[in-house]
């Protein structure tokens, strides 16, 4: 089994810390290069202080088939200012130079990684301080492409489980998953419907019967209250589109950052963090 690899240590340590504090983890998603590289780096740097436990950095892609309008637009803003995979890894390198503990997850689509070259990407991502990967268009059926090479290289490959992943399919989805499992709360795209939190809790219980890994929940979480609702059952709560909406609301007519941009994101992260921290969970041994 490839379950425990050196590079998942930061992820494991972070979940361990959250368990000791008797709460769920807050996982935040922002897009690399949105609205410009330096601002996105400043946002990334400010997230842990605002209450984020794990940070996901989005890889911009022209054709994000599982994303809603907010993340689509964020990706296009980043591409417009010239963001690419090499520059994104550079930003993570700079983040890691100042923060040795916060796990960084790269999330995106396969084509930019494939074109960069899988081996070269894994080596550069590891050097930059990336801990894990979420690649939306690589189901278990395509594990040879990136998942297995990533595990071999010591990077966690974090799988998405969805409401359509039934008990028969779940073992295949979990088999090569490392770090944590990301449960997609709805059948749909990012930033769309708000899930039925009762159903989500049931689904998380179902997944936890199949794996010892932490299960985090994302898609449709927009506020501190939503985060608290998800935190009841899940080990972590992922928020993306809502943060990007908050960022977008501060941009000027040309789509550039303004004085309020970073604060708009960190302000919402603080609210989400309070939501997560309002739910006391039994502290783990």
């Amino acid at each position: 089994m490839l379950k425990t690899q050196p590079m998942t240590q930061r992820i494991e340590a972070r979940f361990q810390k959250c368990r000791q504090e008797g709460r769920a983890a807050l996982v935040t998603y922002v897009m690399a290069g949105d609205p410009d590289p330096e601002t996105s780096l400043e946002i990334l740097r400010s997230l842990p202080g605002a209450g984020a436990d794990i940070v996901e950095f989005g890889l911009p892609f022209t054709d994000p088939m599982a994303d809603g309008p907010a993340i689509q637009a964020a990706g296009l803003r980043a591409l417009k200012v010239g963001q690419d995979l090499a520059k994104t890894l550079d930003l993570i390198h700079r983040f890691r130079a100042e923060d040795a503990d916060t796990p960084v997850i790269l999330m995106g689509y396969f084509n930019p990684i494939y074109v960069y070259g899988v081996d070269r990407f894994l080596s550069d991502a590891k050097k930059a301080g990336v801990d894990g990967l979420i690649v939306v268009d690589l189901p278990p059926e395509e594990d040879d492409e990136l998942c297995l090479p990533a595990l071999k290289a010591g990077l966690a490959f974090i799988r998405l489980a969805t409401p359509t992943t039934d008990d028969r399919r779940l073992p295949a989805v979990l088999e090569n998953t490392a770090g944590f499992v990301y449960y997609v709360s709805i059948t749909g795209i990012t930033g769309a419907a708000t899930p039925d939190f009762g159903k989500v809790a049931t689904a998380v219980e179902r997944i936890k019967r199949h794996t010892p890994l932490p299960v985090v929940v994302g898609f449709g979480v927009k506020s501190g209250a939503h985060a608290a609702a998800v935190a009841q059952g899940a080990d972590g709560v992922v928020v993306g589109s809502a943060l990007i909406d908050a960022l977008k609301g501060t941009l000027d007519a040309e789509g550039r950052a303004t004085a309020g941009t970073i604060e708009a994101v960190t302000g919402l992260v603080k609210e989400l963090s309070e939501g997560v921290r309002s739910v006391a969970k039994r502290a783990a041994a």
Binding site: D63, P112, D137, L138, T165, G188, I189
Partner: protein
Amino acid sequence: MSAQAQPNSYRTGPDERGHFGQFGGRFVAETLMPNILELEKAYEEARNDPSFHADMASYSTHYIGRPSPLYFAERMTDHLGGAKIYFKREELNHTGAHKVNNVLGQILLARRMGKKRIIAETGAGQHGVATATLCARFGLECIVYMGAVDVERQKPNVFRMNMLGAKVVPVQSGTRTLKDAMNEALRDWVTNVADTFYCIGTVAGPHPYPAMVRDFQCVIGTETREQMMQAEGRLPDSLVACIGGGSNAIGLFHPFLDDKDVEIYGVEAAGHGLDQLHAASLSGGRPGVLHGNRTYLLMNHDGQITDAHSISAGLDYPGIGPEHAWLHEMGRVKYISATDQEALDAFQLCSRLEGILPALEPAHALAKVIELAPQKPKDHLMVVNISGRGDKDLFQIAEHLQEKIV
């Protein structure tokens, strides 16, 4: 190009994971995987069920109007002074293009699977019209995603779809053309997995679509074989077809792939020219992953998909079906390209010599027939697939010709 070992047969792909060589596959979000597997199983069952084939045959004859004629284009042959040119008349099908062959198969499959809601993407609108038509015939809900730019340049087809009771959704994201329509259709499918059947219009997308759509289109080549045997007592010497995603081309080519003496030409859209904006993924692209499969794509250094351009909305796509990518690398099919201007010229020549207005898509194939036929002897039998009729393009063509006159 073809350093790889040649297979015993070119007609056995894909493998069980949907690969044609390194191309194809199932690069989709987890939410869709159960649906893709369900579709694969349902298609396998249908393929082995004689009653499914009987239904296909019956509707093909009485609703679509098959077989489509193989017509000797005598005046074009005389004019070009070389190969004997035959038109495979797919433009005479109900709804005016080859697209309906595939849609019939997928809609009959959707009925078997109990799916009541059909979604589709469309570029030129021919696949959208065919889907709207079959949905009307079988009383199914139909939603067609179409890039806002294409909605503008293919208005007659938008109106046709509306008349047929379909809902046309103009897609405003990205470049607002076919690739974005496909993204939006995939987003719809991810959201409505339980009751929805995604009717893909070309030989692209995740496995099993490239193989399934090809199988439904192979009627073109199978008929051509029989018709040519009847007309000339032998197989053709060459085949020519235009390629966007490549469904009309693979439908004509596939039954001939193992006939080594048959030359096969696929014609991509070179737009303003291969050194400028175009839609020729094989001539100007490289391997990447998009819309569920690995294939040749137009993209930048970072794997970001770049704008395709063709005067023909049906060819305006930055990718190509994975089986074509494989046939290209194996060297079995020769992929060439025609510019917007060459297609316009061919459109006019065909209209005046044969009294047939071809769509701008097969006008690209005709453009290369004009180039190839004079180089061949008079006993060379050349078949070109007239995959659709030109009525939908008349406004656009008028606009282009006027620009030139002024």
